[in-house]
């Protein structure tokens, strides 16, 4: 299992559109992917659940990947967060 932490820099936090793009990105991989904020964990493939975390600027989320392509998934997601959030 692989994971990384990320502090959100985008002014609006993980609002609807980036959440949608994030889910799209996550669906490219077979590994089980999750996002955790304050002990609440949601699957990265669940758009409305990810939105329901209400992640704001300055908050830290943990992304975990578990599965065959976990390494590639973590790399891709790191890049996604840095670019979009």
């Amino acid at each position: 299992m692989k994971e990384f932490n990320y502090e959100i820099k985008d002014e609006q936090g993980i609002h609807a559109r980036p959440a949608g793009l994030l889910v799209k990105e996550a669906k490219k991989f077979t590994s089980a992917l999750t996002i955790t904020k304050n002990g609440q964990t949601k699957k990265l493939t669940q758009l409305m659940m990810v939105m329901s975390l209400g992640v704001k600027k300055g908050e830290v989320v943990t992304i975990q990947a578990d599965g065959e392509d976990e390494e590639a998934a973590i790399e891709a997601l790191k890049a996604f967060f840095e670019q979009n959030l």
Binding site: G20, Q46, L47, M48, G54
Partner: protein, 542 residues
């Protein structure tokens, strides 16, 4: 041939095809099903269809309003792919053996409640999006197209009733007239009809199930009659009347570029009322001297989230620039439970006209107000903009508004954002404001009398209640005396006073308004030249 009559709110005649408008929030019946597999198949087809519709809407919106505003349709597409949401509908169909429409409605309510409960305004507003996609699925399942308004041909809109957020979404180029079962002469459908110069009938006892899209109809705003599937003779007569109307309009055109001055030399300003940037065309076409009422709430309706400062700034600036230095009076947000957008989460009220609305919302939720004020002050640097505040009942409210305006000025100064402090006035639309108009006149630059609300509050008559239309007496002495009092108080303090309600366009009163000394009348664009004609035929020396 089916002939029905109702009450006319705008005189004119039109012949054209009908579009039956069905409301967004439809009643969904729960029915027991035998075969969950075929029900799920129906659902899947509805989802695919919805995705196609949203893609088209997205492309259309990118072209018309730009990518930022179009993004919402992309988000809707993504939400429609959400596995939890779709699984919840599937499960409900399978375990409870209910129809797909019902499962989609219940699931939509559950998910939207989840967002409505979050303590984040942005996420709260997403509740409306979930409702929106669920309603889209339901419409598709019921075999109703996108409200039927996607047709390319202009048509007569036939409906039970129309809410402001429904009319604002309509492509105005494609509306020939309105015929509704409910609604009152002062409803927003009526206001829109007058704005657009199209015939409209309300209170027509139709059975919508007997009507279908594409059916021909004649709407006659003079007789108050609508005829569905008219015979040749009637069609011929309608054509003839339409021609006569055109000729009358042409005659009025001769009054363009003429002054609004009486035979004995008294002049008055005639401005126009608008609801969107798109309406400026009507203002220029009818040669109005300015815009006396820009109903800014229309920027807030028919959408899923608050318009940003930038979006509002662009709209206000564009209107001011299109008017080329002529006065543009923008009324700040006038929204309430009777005229609202889902994302305001205003809830239902027993008495919306007496409720949480207009300036009350702005003073209680100053963030919403400040966004609009920043946009207004910035836009004022680009043209002749004035700002007016609705629903004022006390001098304390005006003081509170000025405090917020000062805060906004300070913020703009700190960021070195260019702006100008516009002329500021208040709407006089409550009896309280009339009674203290002497004190208000010391504080503000001008008064604009909103006669629709002033009449409703003074005569204690609900504008939306069609049963009361017979009691609604706009020429009531009480109203006319109030107008005189407000005008006199404005003049005592060297300020000006105008009327921006429907009464301003009532040519039976034009002479009286001139005698009262009013400085301005702001009317629907289609009425500007008619009022000019009335002014020019008046002689006050007699």
């Amino acid at each position: 041939m089916l002939k029905l009559s109702g009450k006319s709110v705008y005189k004119g005649v039109v012949l054209g095809p009908v579009t039956v408008f069905r409301p967004q929030d439809q009643l969904v019946k729960r029915t027991k099903i035998e075969d969950p597999q075929s029900e799920i198949l129906r659902l899947q087809e509805a989802v695919v269809h919805a995705q196609e519709q949203l893609k088209k809407l997205y492309d259309k919106a990118v072209k018309e309003v730009g990518e930022a505003s179009a993004a919402i349709f992309e988000v809707h597409q993504m939400m429609l792919e959400d596995e939890d949401y779709l699984d919840a509908i599937h499960n409900m169909i399978q375990t409870e053996l209910v129809n797909a429409e019902y499962a989609a409605a219940v699931t939509g309510d559950n998910f939207s409640q989840m967002f409505a409960d979050m303590d984040d305004d942005y996420m709260k507003a997403r509740a409306a999006d979930v409702k929106d996609i669920s309603n889209r699925l339901i419409r598709n399942l019921q075999g109703n197209a996108d409200n039927g308004l996607d047709s390319d041909e202009p048509s007569i809109i036939v409906a039970d009733d129309l809410s402001p957020s429904e009319t604002v979404q309509m492509d105005k180029e494609k509306i020939l007239g309105f015929v509704t079962i409910h609604g009152s002469t002062n409803s927003h459908t009526a206001i829109l009809a007058r704005m657009m110069n199209i015939p409209a009938l309300i209170g027509v006892p139709m059975n919508l199930d007997e009507l279908h899209n594409g059916m021909l109809a004649v709407v006659d705003g003079f007789s108050g009659e609508v005829v569905f599937e008219p015979d040749d003779q009637l069609r011929q007569a309608a054509h003839e009347k339409m021609k006569q109307e055109q000729e009358k309009l042409h005659l009025l055109q001769n009054l363009k570029d003429k002054e609004n001055v009486t035979l004995d030399g008294r002049s008055i300003k005639i401005y126009a009322n608008i609801g969107s940037v798109g309406d400026v065309g009507y203002v220029l076409e009818n040669d109005a001297g300015g815009i006396g009422l820009f109903r800014s709430e229309f920027l807030y309706l028919g959408r899923n989230d608050f318009p940003s400062e930038e979006e509002q700034f662009q709209a206000y600036k564009q209107v001011a620039q299109m008017m080329g230095g002529k006065k543009v009076i923008i009324r700040t947000l006038d929204i309430g439970a009777d005229k609202q957008a889902d994302y305001f989460n205003l809830g239902r009220e027993e008495n919306p006209a007496l409720g949480y609305r207009a300036i009350r919302i702005c003073l209680k939720q100053p963030e919403i107000f400040k966004t609009q004020l920043r946009a207004l002050l910035r836009a004022a640097a680009f043209g002749n903009i004035s700002v007016m505040y609705p629903m004022i009942t006390s001098t304390e409210e005006v003081t509170a508004i000025y405090d917020i305006v000062k805060e906004v000025q300070k913020e703009l100064d700190e960021n070195e954002t260019p702006y100008k402090l516009p002329e500021q006035g208040v709407m006089i639309e409550t009896p309280a404001a009339v009674m203290i108009s002497d004190e208000l006149a010391e504080m503000v630059d001008f008064f604009s009398i909103g006669t629709n609300d002033l009449t409703q509050y003074t005569l204690a008559i609900d504008r939306q209640n069609e049963k009361l239309d017979d009691f609604y007496k706009p020429h009531h002495k009480a109203i006319l005396r109030m107008i005189q009092m407000v005008t006199d108080n404005a003049h005592k303090h060297g300020k000006w006073a105008g009327i921006c309600g429907e009464l301003g366009a009532d040519t039976d009163l034009t002479e009286e308004f001139l005698r009262m000394g009013l400085d301005e009348l702001s009317v629907a664009p289609s009425m500007v030249l008619k009022v000019r004609k009335a002014v020019r035929e008046t002689d006050l020396s007699k």
